[in-house]
Symmetry: C2
Subunit: 431 residues, 2 copies
């Protein structure tokens, strides 16, 4: 019989134990930051009705982007982000939640498209969202940015420093109005801006020219990226309001202790959802990862599910994008995650298994990671080799003599020193 | 426009924040027990190739049981248990792992069949497995049972006491041989035993009679459940060996401190995988949940993936089965999970947001869960109402006066007492 393949499907992540411990450690630290900021951790279904996932009816088209299946008459699929499920959940629990409601989700999401370099088909994102009914101050936008910054800071020993780039959808709306662009032109130019970084300056200029064919309009849009937004003060009330919001926001961030934020109007976060300020985080030492986190404000989060107007500001941290990539590329030193076991308890003879188990249980109760080697017919040489291979700091040897005297032979695996002691002393020495 | 449904699909679990906090707390406690016992936490893909999930070729048949989809030429599906992925992973990483290898997975699994009462289509199981190459002492079977027992004990305040029921596949093999059953009869009787509890004694007797049509054989099998296995000593060497293994095993469990285990030969764990001792855990106060955990030994875990013989003993704890059921049925007192916020920081006026954020950050750094209310134009009455609704123990009030004097007005929400203090003192009072 042919053996089946042992590699996971392409685009799916599979870590070795030490890598996984690092991944889990970083997730736990970041979640501690979110929990201390009052975010409720939600765990929503990975499968949603197709009608919840998309408004599109064209099954063939959406099937190329998602994992979909049909059960009986019901079409359903795996979520591609955390926002669709959250909108449904919040709309369904308006009376169970207190608003502003702070929610976080750390969960797997799925993209059905063919895997490309650096793109996963199954990946973790860590979302955080603050939602209000009918109103929600932009102070919460600043709070979200501050919390993401603190979460990324909490693991900076692994990923280095970060910076936040702040964009504004209202600024572009105001500028497009001021330039008197048609709806079609607005859309085309907006797509160009969203892709500007990937396109390069030359292609961007060419695209603008194709879309507008008006040198004055083209130059003004290019000016946003060279001389900055301040050129656009006193042009229209709408532009002034957008610029005022942005400058006040930057000053608030600074006052809140977020010192690594700057304005970057090329940040637009695509066409979906967002209606206000938008932002992205980059890792300064890891430009190859692209956007580490991104988000913004949406004026009506759950309009498809509820007549109640839920205003939200939210973001997703690309957790797998950051950590799975760095782990797979050996960019994180795993030394401290390599050897989690404190004590290997080696057992000479089946008669001593019960005694040895009481030893490991006492160690575990004391918060010591203890593993017993229970193939008791193996020679001492093999057993001590096991203790060495798993990198245990100590070996606790249990044979007939030790059981008779109610003691343990405790060997320091680093120094090779061995001494006989009672259990309570062994626990003290190990801790 | 019609609103979309807000309920999750049937068979999918969705908890409210306090329920989720309890669920997560229990998972974390149990995972701490496993981690202290040296289990490596693995997080494998939820999607596997169809050929990994099943040996069956009949797509229509397996599609009724699983969530399957096709991408290009590749058929794939969502895992229904943790064992298939683990076998693949271990076979693919023989040189990266130290054996005996202890692995745990706490992950979502999926069953495609129509949801029935108490059956989920997406559910968490917590697996633990110990795997050896070519040999693995049955002492590890006892270790697995001991660790599950300790994991369930760690959350006994919620789920009450547990008991372990130990069965033996070799006992039945030996008895069937002794009774000289045909292969077909063995299979039929084995299925009957597996279903005995659900069938009831009368249907079981009838089933036996249909399968065997031999009063002597029928009575001997019934005798296992009434008078016990000891009747079968000195009948055949194979029976004696199976009974000897079982009695030694029970005595080992007892010596290891597992006082709540008993023999129950009706425990067989179905037809798949298992080749040695098998076991199930029940929650004594929650018979309605059925089997809380189950597992056993398999002689060749990864035969489909590798020529190396990997012997395993493993179990799955039905985490959602236990906790989602109990939470959905309000069988757990959620008082201590209801109000996670220590301090609500209330902010009077936009000018004071930066100051207030420095207060919340200092509180969070000190390990205090702190939430700021940032709709600063809301009246004090509305803000204090928010602090009350989220069950904050304290409200920290920040207005122009407090900022000018560099202090906080700290209100104890239970007593109503309010005092003005500097930040450091506020942190002390709150902790």
């Amino acid at each position: 019989m042919d053996l089946k393949p042992t590699k996971p499907l392409s685009g799916f992540i599979e870590l070795l134990p030490a890598q996984q411990r690092c991944f889990d450690y970083c997730a736990a630290r970041m979640q501690d930051v979110l929990r201390s900021a009052g975010f409720s951790m939600l765990d929503l279904p990975a499968i949603e009705r197709a009608e919840v996932l998309t408004d599109k009816d064209n099954w063939d088209e959406i099937e190329t982007q998602m994992f979909l299946f049909q059960k009986g008459d019901t079409k359903m699929g795996l979520r591609y982000d955390g926002t669709v499920g959250l909108s449904r959940y919040v709309a369904g629990h308006l009376n169970d939640l207190v608003f502003p409601f702070r929610a976080s989700q750390f969960s797997k999401r799925y993209r059905g498209e063919r895997a490309q370099r650096g793109r996963y088909r199954e990946f973790y994102q860590m979302d955080l969202d603050i939602m209000g009914i009918n109103s929600l101050s932009t102070n919460y936008d600043a709070e979200i940015i501050s919390v993401i910054n603190r979460a990324l800071e909490s693991v900076s020993e692994f990923i280095g420093p970060n910076e936040a780039l702040i964009g504004s959808r209202p600024f572009w709306d105001a500028l497009f109005d001021y330039l008197e662009l048609s709806e079609n032109q607005k859309r085309e130019v907006f797509i160009l801006i969203d892709k500007k970084e990937k396109m390069g300056d030359e292609d961007f200029a060419e695209g603008l020219s194709d879309a507008l064919g008006n040198a004055k309009q083209e130059n003004l849009i290019k000016l946003v990226f060279s001389d900055g937004y301040k050129q656009f003060l006193n042009k229209s009330d709408k532009l002034d309001a957008a610029i005022d919001e942005l400058t006040r926001f930057m000053s608030l961030l600074n006052g809140m202790g977020v010192k690594n934020a700057k304005i970057d109007l090329s940040v637009t976060r695509g066409l979906a959802y967002y209606t206000g300020l938008v932002f992205e985080f980059k890792l300064i030492n890891h430009p190859e990862l692209g956007t580490a986190a991104g988000g913004g404000r949406y004026a009506d989060l759950a309009g498809k599910f509820s007549k109640t107007k839920i205003i939200g500001v939210g973001a997703a941290i690309g957790f797998s994008r950051i950590f799975a990539s760095m782990l797979e590329n050996n960019q994180i030193d795993l030394t401290r995650f390599a050897n989690p076991v404190d004590v290997a308890v080696l057992v000479m003879g089946d008669n001593n298994v019960a005694y040895a188990t009481n030893v490991v249980n006492a160690l575990r109760d004391a918060g010591v990671v203890a593993v017993s080697y229970l193939d008791t017919d193996k020679k001492f040489k093999n057993q001590i080799e096991y203790a060495d291979k798993i990198g245990a700091r100590f070996a606790a040897i249990v044979g007939d003599d030790e059981v008779a005297k109610n003691v343990i032979a405790l060997k320091n695996m680093e120094t090779g020193n061995q001494e006989t002691c009672v259990l309570a002393d062994a626990i003290k020495k190990v801790k």
